[in-house]
């Protein structure tokens, strides 16, 4: 099953490679991984999307927790949560296609953030599924380039990860 893990870690050099190295050394799966500093510059937050049986997820949690740099790890699947991913997508946009593409972007609540004579660059956030659906909905031949951020996740409600 797919799980979203959120972890806080000391913002030390090499901390990212410890986590990434752990996943590859123990043959754990990584679907996506995002990382950036938090409101506390000494702490980074990472979101990892992984998958595996309950036993494997349990091992992943324990092994990640064991890393000396890791302050906390939670499995967002254990609570109600929100996940979002950012996608930037460049599409060929000839005069004849423009109206249709714009309509689609509106339906998916994206935004066109760069325009040239022949192209649009579209920004879109949502769950991975929604972004997949948008790509599916576009004519494949129009897609020039796709960049996705990987998932960021947070629990619903007023409880914060630190507490």
């Amino acid at each position: 099953m797919r799980h979203i893990l959120s972890l806080l870690m000391e913002n030390e050099a090499g901390a990212l490679s410890r986590v990434a190295g752990l996943f590859s050394a123990r043959a754990f799966n990584i679907e996506s991984l995002t990382v950036a500093p938090t409101e506390d510059p000494k702490i980074s937050r990472m979101t990892i999307v992984t998958s595996g049986s309950d036993a494997i997820i349990e091992q992943i949690m324990k092994q990640v927790n064991k890393l000396v740099d890791v302050v906390k790890v939670v499995d967002l699947n254990d609570t109600r949560h929100i996940e979002r991913e950012l996608m930037l997508i460049k599409v060929a946009a000839k005069k004849t296609d423009r109206a249709e593409i714009k309509r689609m972007v509106d339906v998916f609540r994206g935004r066109i953030i760069d325009v040239t004579e022949n192209s649009f660059t579209i920004e879109m956030t949502g769950t991975g599924e929604k972004l997949d659906a948008f790509i599916q909905a576009l004519d494949e031949r129009l897609i020039l380039e796709v960049v996705r951020s990987g998932v960021s996740g947070i629990a619903r409600g007023d409880k914060a990860i630190h507490s």
């Binding site: 870690m9 000391e10 050099a13 090499g14 490679s17 410890r18 190295g21 050394a25 036993a55 349990e58 091992q59 324990k62 092994q63 927790n65 064991k66 000396v68 740099d69 890791v70 302050v71």
Partner: protein, 578 residues
């Protein structure tokens, strides 16, 4: 008024920090990146530097020192090849959870990443085989980082820690202050076990009809041998130890049923298979111990006590996990078991269970032919045990001799048996013995080796001479990589592909050329005399080249993919018993 702090150079800080940490021995080998440090070592005498002959030897020697004493082993090597040579020893310590602090020199900070002379990414290379590692980029962080390294290496589940120190950091200066303790907010090892879990465990333990205690290296690392022994005696249950756990419970005690696992005793493995409650203490359900997981302890409810949560339910799902320091948890369990009016073990069931275990024991699975002129390797180990009254420190290399050492030297005390169980590193034995001898100069330290393993770190014989670490090396020389040959005999129709040791050196002359005593023993009847003679030579290192039976195999054996009840007991009697 606060004492004015001294301004010291990084290299001085290094030496002072080791001194303030109470470190007595440093195993090392110099090179460009650590020359400032070596210059400071020259000027002080608080820390004794032991010059090894290969960086692998430094890590194994420090490792042996740590295993024998419980204190961290400390290593200093240069950048590049110094660091890479140390990796095997670091990984060896990692797999057996041994506290080491390994300092690697590094090129100066401004050169890092430039493929500078003798630059390797030591942090990257060692990351998967250390508990943690640090790169010190600023001399101001040096003292604290050293303190953190010792703290991380020795606390919780111990392990090796690497500290990579660029050369310019050892030249720069700052105020020196060695912290009394450090706090790492992201690192808080658990000590006390959960009281509720401990209570539940006690109930299950006391309800057992066919109990079995299975304890591992964690008991030794956690200094919990005394508590384990009390616990086991109080309950009267049978106990087995893993290869890493030997000595945690006295092997000569009647409740001890021997080692378990691939080359464990018949009685230990059968009791594992048939038990109804398994009490796993400081053990990690390694594949060499469990055999086929599908067939592992099919009738048992399992209690597992371990300091490392990730060891719990990793290979085998357990019923009652207790995360905590084994010593604390055993104390808590003992308190419950000793409390008045509490439940007691089921004496009747236990009697019937012991009757069964003793029947298995009566098979005498470790018997070997004692009427041969050709030397049986088991006999050599048994004699060593007798002559040293079971009280020597014994290191080993890896192979058949290691298993025979584990089976035939009955360890009654913890920290006496020192071997590379997890990584299985040939070359470990001699340097490890050297490290033990440095820690305990007055004790007998023997290294049981094979002629193939022995030469993997043979250069350390020079170190033994230089520092008077007089060890007794028993090479069980079967002219084969015996364990490889055994597998080839069993699983590759005796196609002995590259497992024959041709062109062996003259070991007697070799020992002599290093300044030691060499002996070659070819007859069974000469074994005892030779051992006595060697042991009497207290101030000499002796290499005993025992020419042993070439075809002897290690039994019992559980082949890969088999269960505990499916042991081979001997070549002519491959019985499968259930």
């Amino acid at each position: 008024m606060a004492k004015k702090k001294e301004i010291l150079r990084g290299a001085e800080i290094f030496c002072r920090a080791l001194k303030d940490e109470g470190i007595k021995h440093l195993f090392g080998y110099p090179g460009g990146a650590v020359l400032h440090i070596y210059d400071e070592l020259y000027k002080q005498d608080a820390v004794e530097h032991i010059l090894v002959r290969h960086e692998q030897g430094a890590t194994h020697a420090a490792d042996g020192y740590a295993r024998a004493t419980g204190k961290p082993g400390v290593v200093l090597v240069t950048s590049g090849p110094g660091a890479t040579n140390a990796v095997t020893g670091i990984a060896t310590a990692y797999l057996d959870s041994i506290p080491l602090v390994v300092f690697t020199g590094q090129v100066s900070t401004h050169m890092i990443g430039n493929d500078a002379f003798q630059e390797v990414d030591s942090i990257g290379i060692t990351r998967p085989c250390v508990k943690h590692n640090f790169l010190v980029k600023d001399v101001k962080d040096l003292a604290t980082t050293i303190k953190k390294a010792f703290y991380v290496a020795t606390s919780g589940r111990p392990g090796p820690v690497v500290v990579d120190i660029p050369k310019d950091v050892t030249a720069d200066s700052c105020e020196y202050e060695y912290p009394d303790k450090v706090d790492i907010s992201s690192y808080k090892p658990v000590v006390k076990g959960h009281p509720g879990q401990i209570k539940r465990a006690a109930e299950l333990i006391l309800s057992a009809k066919k109990p079995m205690i299975y304890s591992g290296g964690g008991v030794i690392l956690g200094e919990a041998s005394k508590e384990l022994t009390q616990f086991t005696k109080l309950l009267g249950y049978p106990i087995t130890n893993t290869l890493m756990g030997l000595g945690a419970f006295p092997a000569t005690h009647k409740q001890f049923v021997g080692m378990l696992g691939m080359h464990g005793t018949y009685e230990a493995n059968m009791a594992m298979h048939h038990c109804d409650v398994l009490i796993a203490i400081g053990a990690r359900f390694d594949d060499r111990v469990t055999g086929d997981l599908e067939k592992f302890c099919p009738y048992a409810k399992i209690v597992h006590i371990d300091v490392d949560p990730s060891s719990i339910s990793k290979n085998v799902p357990v019923d009652i996990p207790i995360v905590g320091d084994v010593k604390h948890v055993l104390k808590d369990l003992l308190a419950i078991l000793k409390s008045d009016g509490g439940q007691k073990p089921d004496a009747k069931a236990l009697k019937a269970w012991w009757k069964q275990v003793d029947e298995w024991r009566a098979l005498d699975c470790l018997k070997f032919d004692r009427d041969t002129e050709v030397i049986k390797p088991q006999y050599v180990v048994e004699k060593l045990w007798e002559l040293t009254k079971g009280d020597a420190f014994v290191t080993s290399d890896v192979g058949q001799h290691q298993m025979w050492a584990a089976q035939f030297y009955k360890f009654d005390k913890p920290r006496r048996w020192i071997n590379s169980g997890g990584l299985g590193t040939m070359g470990f034995g001699v340097p490890a013995a050297m490290g033990v001898k440095l820690a305990y100069p007055d004790e007998t330290v023997a290294c049981i080796s094979g002629e193939a393993s022995l030469v993997m770190c043979i250069q350390e014989l020079s170190t033994c001479l230089q520092y008077n670490t007089n060890i007794k090396i028993l090479s069980l020389n079967n002219r084969y990589m015996g364990m490889v040959r055994q597998w080839q005999e069993f699983f590759y129709s005796s196609r002995y592909s590259h497992s024959y040791m041709e062109a062996l050196p003259d070991f007697v002359k070799m020992a002599e050329s290093y300044g030691h005593v060499g002996m070659r023993i070819e007859k069974s009847s000469d074994v005892e005399g030779a051992l006595k003679e060697a042991l009497a030579l207290k101030d000499r290192t002796v290499l005993m080249d025992f020419v042993t039976d070439q075809t002897e195999n290690v039994y019992p054996m559980i082949a890969s993919g088999k269960g505990h009840h499916e042991m081979h007991l001997s070549s002519d009697k491959d019985r499968e018993l259930a």
